[in-house]
Amino acid sequence: MNRRDDICGALRRMLPDGCVVDSTESMKAFDSDGLSAYRQVPLAVVLPETVEQIAAVMKYCHEQGVKVVPRGAGTSLSGGALPLADAVLLGLGKFNRILEVDYANRCVVAQPGVTNLAITHAVQADGFYYAPDPSSQIACSVGGNVAENSGGVHCLKYGLTTNNLLGVEIVTIEGEILRFGGKHLDSGDYDLLGVMTGSEGLLGVVSEVTLRILQKPATARALLVGFEDTGDAGKAVGDVIAAGIIPAGMEMMDGLAINAAEDFANAGYPREAAALLIIELDGPEVEVDALIERVEAIVRKAGATSVRVSQSEEERNLFWAGRKSAFPAVGRISPDYLCMDGTIPRRRLPDMMRRMNSLSQQYGLRVANVFHAGDGNLHPLILFDANQPGELERAEEFGADILRSCVEMGGVLTGEHGVGVEKRDLMNIQFTEDDLKQQQRLKCAFDPGHLLNPGKVFPHLHRCAELGRLHVHKGKLPHPDLPRF
């Protein structure tokens, strides 16, 4: 018997029937996530049903030195859930129950495999909702949301997952079940809840979440604003915020994205505009009506060439229909596309647009842009055809250049999609070797054997013993230049 058979046999013995998937054919369903250019069949797939079973799997893998890749719904756009040939893929799909709705404390306790939208569905009849709303919300899991610290179009006002998460239960690589946070607001110790959020499955498996829910705003209205010039649109965004207004969402699309979306959704977008803003305000009716007027005046002053204000819920939804279908719409005009996710200081938007145009020419590939403009988070969609030899590589290089530019302009590599395998090798553009070493030391505190989701996020894996070594400057004299009193 080889090692793989041993492992699968052991996993079978600790899990109920049907919880271990190890035929190559059936494992194909798990061989990639949303970054579908990368595929790999794992060693085995396990689909445990209880926390104790997760713990048993982890304990076994830890003892045997077997790697583990956690997986939620597999919608990650950065390859975070990409399997490894020598790792067990731990799927949380069976953890699909909402455990408690607690209106007195305005929170929901759920298993990690519950979809993002299911949280809102569970509480909307009572007027509540869960604020973070990634476009993938019908599919992505709340455990995956925690692991990626996912955002959405409303995070300008309502924050990312990290700002809406009260507690987690996790299973460590040793198989220990720990809780960070709960229904109370502040943790009195190291904020390990905060550290788990956005840790991309490298620190522990999230086995339960406690999410903050909010009362649904009384009303929401949106403006659809066209500009001849992206610079004007960027300025309008800054002007709205400078006027003390934080819209619920403030999204921008460029010409190519506007037209692709319009073809797809017939939302009534101004096809001739170089940039389109969707600005949504939510809250009490009097407030929304007053702010809509203020925002309208601001965008007109900033040079808007067309302004429409939603007069009904249907019209507001129509404004969003184009934006929300931007990805599939772009999918229709190109066989393949890569979705990038850098963030820049908002004022650099015109520079970034110019840079992208010249890169687009240089690489001979088109790029369509949708932005979370309010917070400077870019989603350039690079169009390519994977059947043309070399195009995927060219698209990836184009993407890497965009992300390099983001960092050069004072921004970061990823605003909400995570590093995964996709941006792993770019990490040293944003971080020094010492920055990355400190992050990896934290990893060592949770997983000294590098068994959890290895090969993701960090370009080089250093052994924990090596990372822990202290370089003491032996015999060095105390610094004479420091004043001592």
């Binding site: 404390n105 607001l185 190291y190 002007d239 009097v286 702010l291 963030t343 970061v412 909400e416």
Partner: protein, 399 residues
């Protein structure tokens, strides 16, 4: 004890590397207003970072403020006020109850971050930890490192900013930090609602939060405190609900909530004054009492309070809809009773904030951690500061 005064992270590196070589223990200090928070540990020298002061870059329309960690809160608040912005987590001035630091000292932004201090708006807007976007620091290894960034949305690498908030200087010496700012609300007014019991007050607030009238903060004052603050409604408890926003909106929502709850309005000036006192725990400040901070699920507040024997003679105010309790008194048994109550609830913590006698010698100021979580904390601490050079044992024994 020696004072090592440093003015930048280069010097911090030198000083910490010296401490590593000498295996000595340093106490980090900026304003000094919060140095009596936590365990009474002893150190070989003070690392004085009060010179890390000043605003580096402030872009109000980007909602981003980059400054040095030792910047006094007065300076931070003045700069924000000029741009009509705020730190939405509403940092309290604990210097008023701690009475430490230089006279009139407001504390520094670094102290606020290190202690993860948030005020009334934390209930709806998040804590200090939700507003730290990035930082640069020197670890207890004497290495310079940064994390996060200067933009609002960023998931690149682990979120070490969260870890620095509430780490009480045990992980690194921060210099440059970047915070997210928000526009100041145009106006704020409050609503006072009388209740027969704490249970009623907590559930009354919960029902207000189940409306779409967007309450932003909610505190509960027992009658004695309400009377001293001039908001006595003749009931055992008074709930204070704050509404913020543009004038038309606040007036409209206040109208609805008054009709719904039968409360009384509080005008903008009185509302501002009362919330500042609640934020700074002023109603409990004057008497020579120990002060405990309890964070619990809001609906558990009555059970926590019920666990305190009436003979303990405590004063309290509640904030965060009941999720934050400030409890003052002189008995050393208060802490024991609170810890037992929290153990029974299974979530939350009780921390000793002010110690007027020697309470912290007999009971741990930080909520003790369970075995495996404590072990993890120790490993996290060691990953930044393996020899325990920085604020050793300030939070927990052995780390």
């Amino acid at each position: 004890m020696t004072d090592i005064v440093i003015s930048d992270l280069q010097q911090a590196q030198d000083a910490i590397q010296d401490a590593v070589a000498a295996k000595s223990r340093l106490e980090l200090r900026a304003g000094g207003t919060k140095r009596h928070l936590g365990r009474a540990a002893s150190y070989d020298a003070v690392l004085d970072v009060s010179a890390f002061s000043g605003i580096i870059d402030y872009q109000p329309e980007e909602l981003v403020l980059t400054l040095r960690a030792g910047t006094p809160m007065e300076i931070v608040e003045a700069a924000l006020a000029e741009a009509r912005q705020i730190l939405a987590f509403e940092p309290p001035r604990l210097s008023r109850i701690l009475g430490e630091g230089a006279p009139g000292a407001s504390g520094t932004i670094g102290g606020v971050i290190a202690a993860n201090l948030s005020g009334p708006r934390r209930l709806t807007a998040g804590a200090a930890r939700d507003y730290l976007l990035g930082f640069e620091a020197v670890s207890g290894r004497g290495e310079l490192f940064k994390s996060g960034g200067k933009v609002m949305k960023n998931v690149t690498g682990y979120d070490l900013s969260k870890l620095m908030c509430g780490s009480f200087g045990t992980l690194g010496v921060m210099d440059e930090i970047t915070l997210k700012t928000l526009p100041a609300p145009e106006t704020a007014r409050s609503l006072l609602v009388g209740h027969d019991s704490l249970i009623d007050a907590v559930s009354g607030i919960a029902s207000i939060f189940a409306t779409a009238h967007e309450p932003g903060a909610a505190a509960i004052l027992p009658q004695t405190v309400a009377a001293e603050e001039g908001v006595d409604l003749g009931m055992p408890f008074t709930a204070v609900i704050r509404l913020e926003g543009i004038e038309a909106s606040v007036a409209d929502r206040l109208g609805h909530l008054l009709a719904l709850s039968g409360g009384e309005p509080l005008d903008a000036d009185r509302s501002a004054a009362l919330w500042q006192r609640i934020r700074d725990i002023q109603p409990l400040a004057e008497r020579p009492h120990d002060i405990w901070k309890v964070s619990c699920a809001p609906s558990d507040a009555p059970r926590v309070m019920a666990a305190l024997d009436p003979g303990l003679d405590v004063r309290m105010i509640a904030d965060w809809a009941g999720g934050l309790l400030w409890i003052a008194g002189t008995s050393p048994h208060i802490g024991t009773a609170l810890r037992a109550a929290i153990a029974g609830l299974g979530s939350g913590f009780a921390m000793l904030i002010r110690d007027v006698g020697a309470t912290r010698e007999s009971i741990a100021p930080f909520q003790p951690l369970s075995g495996p979580v404590l072990e993890l904390h120790k490993r996290v601490k060691a990953s930044f500061d393996p020899l325990g050079v920085l604020n050793y044992e300030r939070m927990h024994e052995g780390m």
